[in-house]
Structures are given as structure tokens and as C-alpha cells.
């Protein structure tokens, strides 16, 4: 099953890397132009559940790595098949100084809050996202706080430690 999917992917998309690090797991590394069509292809092949959209900050390579984790739903009255137990991880890299990517909401509707989160915590701009408004954070940050060059200790010293104790006011 996996092997046939791997062959299909390799025949359709040129220039992608597929690794199978362990059983029931497949990692597809693609260029950012191809990532969307790979996700669409996988959805048509039954991997309909988008479990997570995540991001890795490769600061030395000046790139963000977007990670999409897909899995398949269990069919009714079936034992788990090999396909339903497996996860497919799609990785793609975007430049760090101009982080832009197309939204995948047309393919997977459930990616909306994940993309909002990434926009807030990494500053990635998802083109075509209907509402990129803050999700968790209350304050404004100079740079998005999950980036590697965000110095949390300095931020804590500047913001939280500057607030005086009430006892000092006497």
C-alpha cells in the first residue's frame, strides 16, 4: 500500500524526497510550489484528516519549515488497516525574511486555527486566509514570540520585571 502510494507520488511530482523512517510513517519533503498539490493529491487518496500544522524555525538556514501531518479516517466496521494506522508528514520550507505561504483552507478546512496560530506566533502570512487575527496573545510583541531570535529573558526583564511591587510604594 505504502509502496504504491510512494510510486504514485514519485511519478506525479518530480523533485520531491520521500523517506520512510519507520513503519506507518512517511515524510515527504517538497518545494513550496508543489506542497499544495501534494496535499490535494493525498486528500484524494484518502488521507482526509489534517492533524496538525506546525512550524520549525531554522534560523541558521534562514528558513521556516512548515509541517503538515495527515492521517486517514477509519472506515466503518473495519479493523484498522495499514493505511488507517499511518501518518503522512508533508514538509516544506519558506524563506524566513519574507514568510509567505498560500492557505490550505480550500483543501483542509480545519487548518484555519492552525494557520492563525502560526501567523501569531511566527509571523507567517497565509495568503487567502479569511481572518488572520490574534488567537491567544493579548500583548503586542516586537517580533513574534516563537521565533528563535526572540529573547524571552530580555522580554521578561523589560516587561514583567519593570512592574513594581505594591509594597515598594510605601
Amino acid at each position: 500500500m505504502k509502496n504504491s502510494l510512494k510510486k504514485d507520488l514519485e511519478s506525479v511530482f518530480k523533485g520531491i524526497q520521500i523517506t520512510v523512517p519507520e513503519k506507518d510513517r512517511m515524510i515527504i519533503t517538497a518545494k513550496k510550489e508543489e506542497a499544495q498539490s501534494i496535499l490535494r493529491f493525498l486528500k484524494d487518496n484518502g488521507y482526509e484528516h489534517l492533524g496538525l500544522v506546525s512550524c520549525v524555525d531554522w534560523i541558521e538556514e534562514k528558513e521556516f519549515e512548515l509541517v503538515y501531518i495527515l492521517s486517514a479516517y477509519m472506515q466503518e466496521d473495519n479493523e484498522y488497516t495499514e493505511k488507517e494506522k499511518s501518518n503522512i508528514i508533508v514538509k516544506t520550507r519558506i524563506p524566513r525574511d519574507n514568510p509567505r505561504f498560500h492557505t490550505v483552507i480550500p483543501i483542509f478546512q480545519s487548518s484555519e486555527p492552525y494557520e492563525r496560530e502560526l501567523h501569531e506566533l511566527y509571523g507567517i502570512d497565509f495568503e487567502g486566509h479569511p481572518r488572520q487575527i490574534p488567537l491567544f496573545l493579548e500583548r503586542d510583541y516586537t517580533i513574534p514570540p516563537f521565533r528563535k531570535d526572540f529573547d524571552t529573558r530580555k522580554y521578561v526583564e523589560e516587561v514583567f520585571d519593570k512592574i513594581p511591587f505594591i509594597e515598594d510604594k510605601r
Binding site: 496573545l137 510583541y141 521578561v156 519593570k162 512592574i163 511591587f165 505594591i166
Partner: protein, 193 residues
């Protein structure tokens, strides 16, 4: 009833009443709330100590802050605290409200809770056992007896400083001041901005 306490009851009935009927806000912050269901139900039974959770802050006089406080949660905590009728007692639960705990260098967690609202007592530990809640409650009784659990009075007296600290963190607050803040408050705010 304990005969020795009879004089106390006759002298200060209101204080004794506050002592033995603590109504806790059912407000969950962070991980500490996982200790609260076993301590209010059959296993540890907080009602032995007169502690019972209530539905809304307007019926409560005990506020347990049970874990790390993020900036967004702090807003809810301030609003909840201000809604509670006096006398009210707040207890920081776990090491995170004390000084940040393991979130001491987090970008979105406030480190010292007593900069923003008054706190009458602390329970240290990560996590404290339910027994620690009862130790804290008995300590709170002695504090109420000696009139040392006066957080709500401090809040009223020093409201301008508390409000200034809250505004320093949040910028402009969406609700009006609870107590009059005076001219000095505006001076402080100007100095900081």
C-alpha cells in the same frame, strides 16, 4: 461546640461566620485545578472545613488561583476578583503565582501575582497536595482571627497602584476603576508612558 470559642462567637459573630463558611470561586487557571475536584468531593471533603465551591464570583469570598497565570487569564482574574463581595480572601496556589515557577522566563506568563491583585496567603509546591489546601484554610482562619487577611482592604487603600500596575501591563483597560484613583494615579501613568 468548643466552649473556649464561645466568647469569640459572642464578641465577633461576623468574623466567626466568615471563617467557617468560605465559598470558593470555581475558577480554573493552569494545572492546579486538577487538585480541586478530589479535595471538594468525597475523598478529602472540603466541606469539613466549611469550604464549598459556588457558581458565580458574586456569591464567593475565597479565590484560589491554582496555577500559572497568563496575561489573558490575569484579565479574567482581575474582573472576577473585583466582582466578589467583601470580605474576600485570595490564595495563590502552587509555585507559579508566587514567582513564576517553571514559567519564570515565559513571554506570556506573569511572574508575581501580588503585583496585580492582593494575595492573602500562598501555598507553595508544584503541585500542592489536597492536604495543603486544608492547611492553608486553617492558616487562613488564624489570619482572619488576627485580622491579617486584609487583602481586600489593601486593595481599596492602594487601588491606584494596583490599577497603575494593571494598566502598565495591559495598556488601556476596558472597564472603569473600581475605586476612585485620584490625581496621583494620572501622574503615575504619565510618568510610565
Amino acid at each position: 461546640m468548643d466552649r473556649n470559642k464561645l466568647v469569640k462567637w459572642l464578641k465577633e459573630p461576623a468574623k466567626m461566620g466568615h471563617k467557617y463558611s468560605l465559598h470558593a470561586v470555581y475558577f480554573c487557571t493552569g494545572c492546579g485545578i486538577i487538585e480541586v475536584p478530589p479535595s471538594i468531593t468525597a475523598r478529602w471533603d472540603a466541606e469539613r472545613f466549611g469550604v464549598i465551591p459556588v457558581a458565580t464570583p458574586r456569591q464567593a469570598n475565597l479565590f484560589l488561583i491554582t496555577g500559572y497565570v497568563s496575561v489573558k487569564t490575569l484579565k479574567a482574574i482581575i474582573r472576577t476578583y473585583e466582582q466578589m463581595p467583601e470580605p474576600k480572601f485570595s490564595v495563590g496556589f502552587g509555585s507559579c503565582p508566587v514567582n513564576g515557577g517553571m514559567y519564570w522566563d515565559s513571554y506570556n506568563t506573569i511572574k508575581h501575582l501580588d503585583k496585580y491583585i492582593p494575595v492573602d496567603g500562598w501555598i507553595a509546591g508544584c503541585m500542592p497536595r489536597p492536604e495543603a489546601i486544608f492547611v492553608a484554610v486553617t492558616h487562613l482562619w488564624t489570619l482572619i482571627d488576627k485580622e491579617m487577611a486584609n487583602g481586600y482592604k489593601r486593595y481599596r487603600e492602594k487601588y491606584k497602584y494596583y490599577r497603575a500596575n494593571q494598566e502598565q501591563l495591559f495598556g488601556k483597560l476596558e472597564w472603569p476603576p473600581l475605586f476612585p484613583v485620584g490625581d496621583k494615579h494620572e501622574e503615575l501613568a504619565e510618568k510610565r508612558s
